[in-house]
Amino acid sequence: MERVKEEKKKFKWPFYITKKIGLPKWKYWLIRVGGILLAFLVAGITCAILKPGTFGLFYSEMFRGCFDFSDISSVIDLFVEFSLLLLIALALTPAFKMKFWNIGAEGQILIGCLISAWIARFAPSEWPNFLILLCCGIGSVVAGMIWSVIPALFKAFFNTNETLFTLMMNYIAKILSALAISLWIKNGSQSFGVLTQGTFPEIMQNSGTLVIVFAIVAFVMLYFYLKNSIHGYEISVVGESLNTARYVGIDVKKVIIRTMIFTGSLMGFIGFLIVCGVHQSFNDSIVAGKGFTGVLIAWLGHFEPFEIALFSFLSAVFEQGTTTAASAVNMSSHQFSSICTGIFFFIIIACEFFSSYQIKMHKKEKEEEVKDDVSN
């Protein structure tokens, strides 16, 4: 009898969560589009709460910040940001499809940045610019590759946890970068300054324009690599089932290492683009969390190139738009933009949850609770 009493006292939530099965695709996308619109709305409301009366201004400024075609350079800035996020998320995708959870994009890019900055700063000034750029590119690719192949080797031969390993490699890259700057800059300002050589040419008033070209090329190549290449097929099999891979004779170790060499090389190359193209400068937080944002985007895009492109674009719009809007209403632009990006991802992830689960109310329990209340 005692036990029965105990069970009655136990608190029960009035609802429970069950899995949603067989949600049609259009409904899923309806939820997602709704989520994106909601994110815009919530960001606007947040702005209006922080600075009353700016609700309308927020949207017009956001739009102006992104799509003001009279200032072509700022539009290109948006597309450069979009391209970088796209490149990072795409570079991560093959490894993720293989279920190799590489969260070390930040470090792999940063080490590429470091090598590019080093070569560009110290290359003999009589070298032609394209030669310096070539050296920067190759050096960065090799550096990024080394940074990603180390965890891959450990995973393949000792089955270490790749998530922790790649995460720690981020910090090593960051510390090395800080160290390099303190060695290079002796005047105590800790400022690297602007590169005078080894920089991309300006096209349409923006030195990052070439990044967009690279992103388009990479997008097309990766699309076919994943969908139609033998490597892409092997990656899918390894990701789905190691036993199946063994059964058809795929060398899993080789696939892991090969894929991470690929990912790392591309990461290093992105580092080169950031230093020589976008910023033409260097510091230890130059990647600015894009490596982690890329992980999020790859996930939200379900490792599908087109979906990844969509979320990269939205993410870039949110970041640049809210930065412009913040400065228009006299707020710290960096912090406000971070808040808004947070809102965006939070809502999109919530959409993922609500499209695979649903919340149902307990029917019987409700009645019981009512009875309990009456008896009390």
Partner: protein, 551 residues
């Protein structure tokens, strides 16, 4: 007296209706069988009674009173206990410790022995679970429920993993428990056992309740028809044809399992073309390792696996060898010209000349090809031109990729044939179309992910793909596990047809009746040893059962 009554029980999982409006009752003190094919909802229904699932609609009555069973703990309150197909025991505890888990009262070994003597269990309370055989673990599960005061015992497919002798013993225990007034519910799909042990039988089909019959008033034929829903032919065809010589000769083979324990010890046997060699044994006796070792998936092996390819005086083909291999082998003097009977050396010929000669079938083998497969990886075996097919027991986890569609799954075996690093989806697509048509695979389209299909259709895809390469050797492990009756008999038919085509087949099975009806010879494995290679036409089930537990 009525013990349990189901009224309009409905249980759905997403869009799948596992139980639809099921109503029937079970009398106190009877042995009651729930009979149905895989996927007919037997286990789901009894899980509702055992408190694992909660029904979506409908009511359960025990002793005439409506009850609300929320958890297995609740079920014990109503004196209902269930022994699941997969045992839920703590491996590092002794039998007694397992029984004591979650019990408030104190027990000693003596109490356990007392109960065991009463019903005829063979159980040592001091033995650790990891040292126990499957039958001992099952016994422990039953004893566990008895100490929780259970008077209604549910057994889910209790005989699936037992030897014939162990089954006989289990049935004795069930009869003893019945004498003691306990109600026993058995979930099963085995007709002969139903006939042997039960008083009454409820038949489920595709989630629907069909009928309850008295065992004394029915027979296996009628039960099968009720179970499947239409007339079924339960005869397995074994074509009696002469074998075509040794295909695979295994000598002193030893192998380890995944954990590094000895799985096979010093076994030797031959497999012939046009023969089905059945492999029987308690599960985990080394069957899996045997097949995986031959397929080249097992690294740590000793002994030899000699494959004989009957190629003497037959033309060399490009299906079998590529140009470079042909050049190499011709240097070793393996071929002769069809016209002149002269030994041929092709090292000085161009690729084009060789291609023409091969296509005109002008180059023949001197002798049968003999190759040791030991330590060869699956890819190397394939590159040698050896057509060895393997239908593993884990279909979605090994033979296929659940999240890929039919075409991509066909490609698993052939994706390397693509050009310039890109895969060719055309041929796999054609193959998928052909298999869907020939084996009557029920699928919405070729782009459907295979995990969404039913077990029978999944198996048809896997078997179809493995047969499509016209294998010289076909290995298959538990190919009908989880399949409905029609699909099972289709698989038996396909295997027999393949045998007639000359393939050497190794068939690892669990249903002794099927093994005895289908196979030409039967190899019995016990603990990694061969305890007998017998002619199934001349041996009884009991004799095989004894061999399964020897050694």
């Amino acid at each position: 007296m009525e013990k349990i009554r189901f009224e309009n029980i409905t249980k759905t999982f997403g869009s799948t209706v596992a139980n639809n409006d099921i109503s029937f009752s079970i009398e106190a003190g009877e042995v009651f069988c729930i009979l149905g094919e895989n996927g007919s909802g037997k286990t789901t229904l009894l899980n509702v009674l055992a408190g694992i699932y909660k029904q979506d609609a409908g009511r359960v009555f025990i002793d005439g009173k409506e009850v609300n069973i929320e958890s297995p703990k609740d079920a014990y309150k109503y004196k209902i206990g269930m022994v699941h197909q997969h045992f839920k025991l703590v491996e590092v505890f002794t039998a007694l410790e397992n029984i004591l888990l979650g019990l408030k009262q104190k027990l000693t070994e003596k109490d356990v022995i007392e109960i065991c003597d009463k019903y005829g269990f063979k159980l040592d309370p001091k033995k650790y679970v990891y040292d126990m055989s499957i039958s001992e673990k099952q016994t422990l599960e039953i004893v566990k429920t008895l100490f929780r005061g259970v008077d209604t015992l549910i057994l889910d497919e209790p005989t699936a993993v037992l030897t014939p002798q162990e089954i006989t013993h289990l049935f004795e225990i069930i009869r003893n428990m019945k004498k003691d007034g306990k109600t026993i519910i058995i979930i099963t799909h085995k007709l002969n056992e139903v006939m042997e042990i039960s008083d009454r039988i409820a038949i489920l089909r595709k989630g629907e309740y069909i009928v309850t019959v008295d065992t004394a008033l029915t027979n296996e034929r009628r039960l099968a028809d009720l179970m499947v829903g239409h007339k079924t032919d339960l005869n397995i065809k074994r074509s009696e044809i002469p074998n075509t010589g040794v295909r695979l000769s295994i000598k002193n083979l030893s192998a380890l399992d995944i954990d590094g324990n000895k799985a096979l010890e010093d076994i030797s046997f031959d497999v012939y073309g046009s023969e089905i060699l059945g492999v029987a044994g308690i599960s985990g006796s080394g069957q899996r390792e045997l097949l995986e070792t031959i397929a080249g998936l097992n690294k740590e092996t000793k002994g030899s696996i000699i494959f004989t390819n009957p190629k003497k005086d037959k033309p060399v083909t490009f299906y079998h060898k590529n140009v470079n291999q042909i050049k190499e082998l011709s240097k070793e003097g393996k071929f002769y010209y069809a016209d002149t009977k002269e030994k041929c050396d092709l090292t000085n010929k161009t690729n084009k000349e060789i291609t023409d000669l091969v296509n005109a079938e002008k180059i023949l083998f001197y002798e049968d090809e003999i190759i040791d497969l030991k330590d060869k990886k699956p890819l190397e075996i394939r590159d040698l031109g050896i057509k060895l097919s393997f239908v593993p027991e884990d279909r979605l986890g090994m033979g296929l990729v659940g999240n890929m569609d039919l075409t991509d799954n066909m490609m698993l075996r052939s994706y390397r044939k693509g050009k310039q690093g890109f895969v060719d989806r055309e041929k796999p697509h054609e193959l998928a179309e052909k298999i869907v048509q020939e084996l009557d695979v029920k699928t919405p389209s070729l782009n459907t992910e295979v995990r969404k299909l039913s077990g029978g259709n999944i198996q048809k895809i896997l078997v179809g793909r493995e047969l499509s390469s016209r294998p010289k050797i076909l290995m298959t492990a538990y190919p009908v596990r989880g399949l409905d009756i029609n699909s099972s008999y289709l698989i038996y038919k396909l295997l027999d047809e393949q045998k007639v085509k000359g393939t050497a087949i190794i068939f690892v099975g669990e249903d002794l009746d099927v093994l005895m009806d289908l196979c030409d010879r039967l190899l019995i494995l016990s603990n990694g040893h061969i305890t007998g290679i017998v002619d199934p036409r001349k041996i009884t089930k009991d004799e095989i059962g004894l061999l399964m537990t020897q050694g």
